[in-house]
């Protein structure tokens, strides 16, 4: 019984620290490569008129 309580406190401690590690990771800025990628995907979907733009993006 006492062990269970201590285990659950330990679990909460671990989870608090996991959340901290996770928060640190997700607070990093989004690298340009991903924003550029989404722009390229959007441009490709835009049809022929946007194709040139997408190709230029890929050559970077």
């Amino acid at each position: 019984m006492a062990n269970e309580i201590e285990n659950s406190k330990q679990a909460r401690l671990i989870d608090d620290n996991l959340k901290r590690v996770y928060q640190d990771m997700i607070s990093e800025d989004i690298p340009d490569r991903f924003l550029n990628l989404l722009d390229q995907l959007k441009a490709q979907d835009g049809g022929a008129a946007s194709e040139e733009k997408a190709e230029q993006g890929e050559q970077k």
Binding site: Q10, D16, L18, K19, M25, I26
Partner: protein, 181 residues
Amino acid sequence: MSADPREELVTHIPALRAFALSLTRNGSLADDMVQDTLVKGWTKIDSFQAGTNMRAWLFTILRNTYYSNRRKAGREVSDVDGVMTNSLSEKPAHDGRLQMKDFRVAFEQLNDEQREALILVGASGFSYEEAAEMCGVAVGTIKSRTNRGRARLAEIMGLNEHEALEMTDSATMAVVSARSA
């Protein structure tokens, strides 16, 4: 009418990177997986059901990619590059928190399934049920992976019960006071 769901993809990039890094423990590999996931998410958006959790959907794509690569490689991807532990500044644990660097080092030693369960349930706030669905396993399996992962972390960190009690109290108070502030 409703906006293109693909516009929402960008908002999930930080969480995808964190999840990928937790799985691979390798910065460049993680970002390649995120790139792959974004392309798949964009091109397969028709299979996303509007109104459901897009983050869960994207995490599922990412983890499927990871495990399929792992199967091809025939081993756990083990090119751990220390990016999880080295790139982040170390904050002093004066208030009784666990030393974050030690904690990350310990976390990296868990097996894939335990790291995944802990990040989904312990850190990202998915329910056991959601995590089970994303991983394609029973709810009990996710619970047991989570519990074993926590126990293993405690063991590696050398947490004894007394320390755990003290640190939990101060960590909890820090969380509570941060929330009420």
